[in-house]
């Protein structure tokens, strides 16, 4: 039995969540569905940690589905980059579950709660599948599993604008996914293979053909839509703002991050050997867009009155940080991007959790309704401040570490514009975080405001866990950095 489990760990990572989703559907009872979903996500976290340990010891793990050898069968290929993503997704997922208990009960009608957990598990299955698969078409299927379930989860929001946000995301997301399969089709036409490792050996010989270049273009734009790269980000602010709090937390922590990973996989593992990144200006294009995202989105965030929307725009800016690290195509730059992906997932999930706590108590996330909130909800607001420090990049926080390495990588490359953009964007972050802090700490509460209490412990503990972990990795930065450097080397293997 243990032998069976240990040989099929890679498959179990995806299959468990896929099987548990219909179980939630059959149970129908909210509590039972919560228990199933929590148990499964925690088991998945355990599996992900075991896989990460195995990869650290033995380099790449390969698992052939159904025993069919690649390139005919689908293979799961776990290197350091994918193992790292598995840990991020399951880690955020496990922290969200205890938090979800009270938050979901308050925000989603009782008769729909079991459906929410069903969608949540499907979403996790899709995200994990993207991280683990070694087949480009299989990646498309998982991408759509995770996207379709996130449209449903967003539409569960109380506000009617959640429906239109979900609809617009569906339109944009489907266009993105369709672009992606057009790219895969062109790639298949030129090579006759769908296996990533196999493609990496076949593409260099025909790298200059127009078919391959078109395929790269379609895939870049398609995944750019999914990862909300400015100017393809229009769906994101509304989706994060109007989704239920738990969904915002989970999507902000994982949804766009996995699309970044997919882009890394395709551009570096599949096309990397062909050197197309430098040769055709993709690096310049991505870094230019990243600079616009960093400064533009941060500037827009300053003027938001809804704090969830403010955090959504801040997320767009953070995606800019990640992309610029990747666009540098140096080991240092890419590992800084990957570390920032991890750190930002923790910090932003923590900040959205603080918003969920506030929404639970005052029923609003408008900045004007938060006057003097620090006096009645000190624990929540302290978490917001601590997370805000991370976003700004104050020393001792995880945000500082990733920005520090990003700056070093930019200096190494001599990209002065990028350095300026990183610093300006951080200054803008101080302004938008300070606006919230100032309102909550230094303004008095309205006299006729209802008396409220601190959020329940079941929500405070997961929130502080994420914030605490982000501080932990701010101090013990070498642990994440070592993994990220390994992941970057695995991805850049084709280039250097």
């Amino acid at each position: 039995m243990t032998q069976f489990v240990s040989t099929h760990l890679a498959a179990l990572q995806v299959v468990l969540a896929l099987l548990a989703a219909p179980v939630c559907l059959l149970l129908r009872r909210p509590n039972a569905a919560w228990v199933v979903a929590t148990a499964i996500t925690w088991v998945l976290l355990g599996i992900a940690l075991v896989l990460l340990e195995q990869v650290l010891e033995a380099s790449t793990l390969i698992y052939t589905l159904g025993g069919w050898p690649a390139p005919w069968g689908i293979e799961y290929r776990i290197d350091l980059a994918s193992a790292f993503m598995l840990v991020i997704i399951t880690g955020i997922g496990s922290a969200v579950m205890p938090y979800a208990w009270a938050s979901v009960e308050a925000e989603i009608p009782e008769e729909r709660i079991y459906l929410f957990y069903c969608m949540y598990l499907l979403n996790i299955a899709g995200l994990l599948g993207i991280a683990i698969t070694g087949d480009v078409f299989n990646l498309f299927v998982f991408l759509e599993i995770s996207s379709l379930s996130s449209y449903v989860m967003i539409s569960l929001g109380k506000d009617r604008r959640a429906l239109t946000a979900a609809y617009r995301y569906l339109i944009m997301g489907t266009i993105g996914a369709t672009f992606y399969i057009i790219g895969v089709g062109l790639m298949y036409m030129a090579t006759g293979s769908l296996n990533m490792a196999d493609l990496a050996t076949l593409i260099p010989a025909i790298a200059d053909s127009r078919t391959v270049l078109m395929s790269l273009a379609f895939i870049t734009v398609g995944l750019g839509l999914k990862l909300a790269l400015v100017p393809l980000h229009m769906w994101l602010p509304n989706a994060y703002t109007h989704a239920p709090s738990v969904v915002s937390v989970f999507l902000a922590g994982t949804g766009t991050k996995i699309a970044v990973y997919a882009m890394l996989r395709i551009v570096f593992t599949v096309f990397g050997g062909a050197g197309v990144f430098d040769g055709y200006g993709l690096g310049e294009m991505l870094s230019g867009l990243a600079v616009i995202a960093m400064i533009g989105a941060s500037a827009v965030a300053i003027f938001q009155t809804n704090v969830k929307r403010l955090l959504a725009y801040s997320s767009l800016a953070q995606i800019g940080y990640i992309m610029i690290g990747i666009a540098m195509t140096s080991v240092l730059g890419m590992s800084a991007g990957i570390v920032h992906l991890f750190n930002h997932a923790l910090i932003k999930a923590g900040l959205f959790m603080a918003m969920g706590c506030i929404f639970l108590r005052i029923g609003s996330v408008q900045i004007d309704d938060m006057k003097g909130l620090a006096k009645v909800m000190p624990v929540t607001m302290a978490a917001f401040v601590a997370g805000g420090f991370g976003l700004i990049g104050v020393p001792l926080t995880a945000g500082f570490i990733s920005k520090w390495y990003l700056l070093q990588a930019a200096i190494e490359k001599g990209w002065w514009l990028a350095i300026a953009a990183i610093l300006i964007s951080s200054l803008l972050a101080i302004i938008y975080i300070w606006r919230v802090v100032e309102t909550a700490y230094f303004q008095d509460r309205d006299e006729n405001a209802p008396t409220i209490s601190e959020a329940p412990w079941s929500m405070l503990i997961p929130m502080w866990t994420l914030i605490g972990v982000s501080f932990y990795f701010g101090i013990h930065a070498t642990q994440t950095m070592d993994v990220a450097i390994g992941a970057a080397e695995a991805l850049l293997g084709g280039i250097q």
């Binding site: 379709l148 539409s155 609809y167 266009i175």
Partner: protein, 122 residues
């Protein structure tokens, strides 16, 4: 005449491009939410045709193991497209379900009218 001996030649690929552009244009240009989904479907169908076309081999038959059959179409893209069709159906169903809910909430399925109502909400 090359055209007749080659028929259909690249005709299918032209059809793909035309369908793709029609679908994409509808998604962008139309305000009606149902029409947008129709456009998205046309857009996806063009990709399905693209996959099926590239699987075809001149003079090839259906991919069945039988005596006397040596050239046959590549079955893999067919299978891929079966999966993509399922994904497309799920997308359509979900999109239409959302449109029904949007109509309940806003009383309209015209994007500009919805946006007008949303700016009042703020």
């Amino acid at each position: 005449m090359d055209f007749f001996s080659d028929f259909p030649g690249l005709l299918n690929y032209w059809v793909v491009i035309v369908l793709m552009m029609i679908g994409f244009y509808i998604v962008i240009a139309h305000d009606n939410l149902v029409k947008k989904i129709v456009g998205l479907n046309i857009f996806q169908v063009s990709v399905f045709v693209f996959y099926i076309t590239m699987a075809k081999i001149k003079g090839g038959t259906a991919p069945i193991l039988a005596e006397g059959i040596t050239t046959y179409s590549n079955p893999l893209p067919h299978v891929l497209i079966l999966t993509a069709i399922v994904v497309g159906v799920a997308m359509t169903a979900l999109g239409l379900a959302l449109v029904v809910r949007i109509r309940d909430a806003y009383g309209t399925i015209e994007d500009d009218e919805i946006q007008a109502q949303e700016s009042e909400d703020l």
